[in-house]
Amino acid sequence: MATTASGATVVPPPGATQPRRKTPSLTTNPGGFWFVLPFLVVYAAFTIFPVLYGLGMSFFNVSLAGAPTTFVGVDNYAELLGDAQVWRTLGHTLLFTVLSTVPLILVSLAMALLVHTGVKGQWFWRFSFFAPYLLPVSTVVLIWNWLMQGDFGFINGILDFVGLPKVGWLSDESVALTSVVLITVWWTVGFNFLLYLAALQAIPESVYEAAALDGAGGWRRTLSITLPLLRGTTGLVIVLQILASLKVFDQAYILFNGSGGPGGAAAPILQYVYDTGFVNYRLGYASAISYVFFALIIVVSLGQFALSRRRGRTAA
């Protein structure tokens, strides 16, 4: 790909028109290509190439177990359309995205508003809410798997103690995905919390002072001034969160030891890609599924792009 940019020369060859170059001045440095080259090499090798290679693979039967590769045209994509498991796991993924995005935004906003009131112990609050985000996913899931045990788990123990029935966090088909959501909220809410906190702290004091002169109290101020000012941040958080939630794999995989949960009820589409490619040896078909998922991500990303451009314009 990068082969078209041929070298370090910045002096245009005689007769070449360079309309984009306004002034060949000191503001541009020579040797730019060499600066970019190391990045381009790793980027080409480990992003661009696999993107194309994966696309190519999706038209072949490629086996992990060593069987010869054969060209199958669009068979993999045709198979995918009729593969109930693709749509089921895609459904789980979308459901997870909805179920996790809402609390991840509301809870993080609530946390940020509470901490921003300025009560003592700022360091402690921030630490408590953000610390789980720093833990490796395995630590998080091992702990929660233990908390969610049916017979001797902490959560059911507490439920039992207050007289509520036990819940089959890890064994009940209708609960399994919710368990993954709970874990994810606990684990990652701290990130959104920090984004909100930064946004809150960026609101100039003068805005509040003006409101105070008008006699607005703390709660009314929050509703009438703070929340509207956070609209931009909320847009950003929503988009980042949706993109992150769509990519769910690690928690769900580890929580159920790769089984996808009771009846497969908590298997996201990335796990189906993994299972197809690595557990069932069908790398070509797994690639095809990846690309359908990729298309979904692109759509959401473009949505994000449009959104941030619109926001940029209104802000300007």
Binding site: L64, A65, A67, D275, N280
Partner: protein
């Protein structure tokens, strides 16, 4: 942004220095990852045994370590089932697989062709291991295309656990103090009902909601009824639909909530038997220790022939395989042969976990024959029925998982036996229509 405090600068510089230091040492060890100490031959061995089997596997490995002190054995235990086979296949494909690995014989299919090396029979003979020492069924199934790819350690058929106390209360024990022979479905179901009266709950503990347990029962009964399942590449599946429907009907009749629970899951089934809530229990022999630990009066017998004459029983074998490597170090390969042979010879302790040793020198030894109740069902090794050959079959496979879902659907009355047959056959056809990755 431009203001940097001296303290931060210092910290960053220190971090940089530390990074450089770690980087240097790490890079130096890049080519050969840090493995255990010792100057002798390194040997990496993978398995998936935990719990009681895990402890006995540690004993087996330790006894080889004692025999060959110059070999430095690294034994690694990975997660049972699909995760294990995924890692093993990926390690083989990457060419840096362990020197020796454990595998279910039923999972050989997708591995043998490209991911494993066959055993050299002469090398085995040199270590005193020959074909005539193995039950023929077991040996056959360890072969692919006339080559021996798996060295069987044991056979673990489906067995019947008997609570002697409850069974005698239910009048099921013969005069000889053994369970009176059960030779028909009616007798089996009747035993379940009578036991249910004694226990006040269910008679027979069997995990309908566990793929492994339910598939074992399904496949045994299907084979006892004379069912045949051929899974040729490209399909369609050659299946006796009527027999399959009859098998599902058997499951439905058995899970009436009195004879058997409809929804018992994997961990619960042995627990129900251990707490005397059921008088019979059907699974592989590896829950022997659970029953012993519970201190209940029990014995174990081969699962009876409910249909036909021969007590055909679903079974599998743990075995050792030689993963394919980019470059084979002759010393390590020799040590792998040594270790496999050693573990086979010492498999009497392995039998403590309920498995029937594959090596006749062990399974016919006086020590084993006096082992109770293992010797009761040792003959079952002659009647073992392995899963149908396909890349998606075997222990912990897709077939087991999908078949298990159909069986559970029947036992919970979510679908009829006819629907279950239709689903399973359709699914088999779909799997076979997909070009095999093997």
């Amino acid at each position: 942004m431009t203001r940097t405090t001296p303290s931060r600068r210092t910290v960053l510089r220190a971090a940089g220095a530390a990074a450089a230091g770690v980087g240097a040492t790490g890079l130096a060890s890049c080519a050969t990852p840090v493995t255990g100490s010792g100057s002798g031959t390194q040997l990496a061995y993978w398995n998936f045994f935990t719990g009681g089997d895990g402890e006995r596997m540690v004993e087996l490995v330790d006894s080889y370590r004692a025999e060959a002190p110059s070999v430095d054995v690294t034994a690694t235990t990975l997660m049972w089932g699909a995760p294990y086979y995924t890692k093993l296949a990926m390690a083989c494909a990457g060419g840096r697989a362990p020197d020796l690995a454990t595998m279910h014989v039923s999972r050989l299919g997708p591995f043998a062709a490209h991911l494993l090396d066959p055993f050299d029979l002469d090398e085995l003979a040199a270590r005193g291991i020959t074909q005539d020492q193995f039950p023929s069924r077991v040996w056959e199934n360890a072969q692919v295309d006339g080559e021996l790819y798996a060295l069987p350690l044991d056979t673990h058929p489906m067995v019947l656990y008997v609570n002697t106390d409850l069974c005698s209360q239910a009048g099921l024990m013969g005069d000889d103090g053994e369970l009176a022979p059960i030779t028909s479905v009616e007798q089996f179901f009747d035993a379940g009902r009578r036991l249910a009266e004694v226990t006040g709950s269910t008679g027979i503990s069997w995990a309908a909601a566990d793929g492994l347990a339910s598939w074992m029962m399904f496949w045994s009964i299907f084979r006892q009824m004379g069912g045949v399942m051929e899974l040729p590449d490209g399909g369609p599946a050659q299946v006796d639909r009527e027999v399959m429907t009859a098998t599902f009907s058997f499951i439905r009749d058995m899970t009436d909530g009195t004879i058997c629970s409809q929804t018992l899951d994997g961990p619960a089934a042995p627990a129900v038997f251990a707490s005397q809530q059921a008088g019979l229990f059907v699974l592989g022999p590896w829950e022997l220790i659970t029953a012993e630990t519970a201190g209940i009066p029990f014995t174990m017998v081969p699962f009876p022939a409910l249909f036909g004459d021969a007590p055909l029983i679903r079974a599998d074998s743990h075995s050792f395989v030689l993963p394919r490597q980019l470059s084979v170090d002759p010393e390590r390969r020799a040590a792998a042969y040594d270790m496999a042979a050693s573990m086979l010879r010492n498999s009497l302790s392995w039998a403590g976990g309920g498995h029937i040793p594959a090596l006749s020198a062990v399974s016919e030894s006086p020590e084993f024959l006096t082992l109770e109740p293992q010797s009761n069902y040792a003959e079952a090794a002659e009647f073992v029925e392995y899963d149908p050959a396909a890349y998606f079959s075997g222990s912990g496979s897709q077939l087991m998982s999908y078949g298990g879902q159909q069986i559970l659907g029947v036992s919970t009355r979510a679908q009829t036996p006819e629907q279950a047959t239709e689903n399973l056959v359709t699914w088999l056809d779909q799997q076979l229509a997909i070009p095999s990755p093997v």
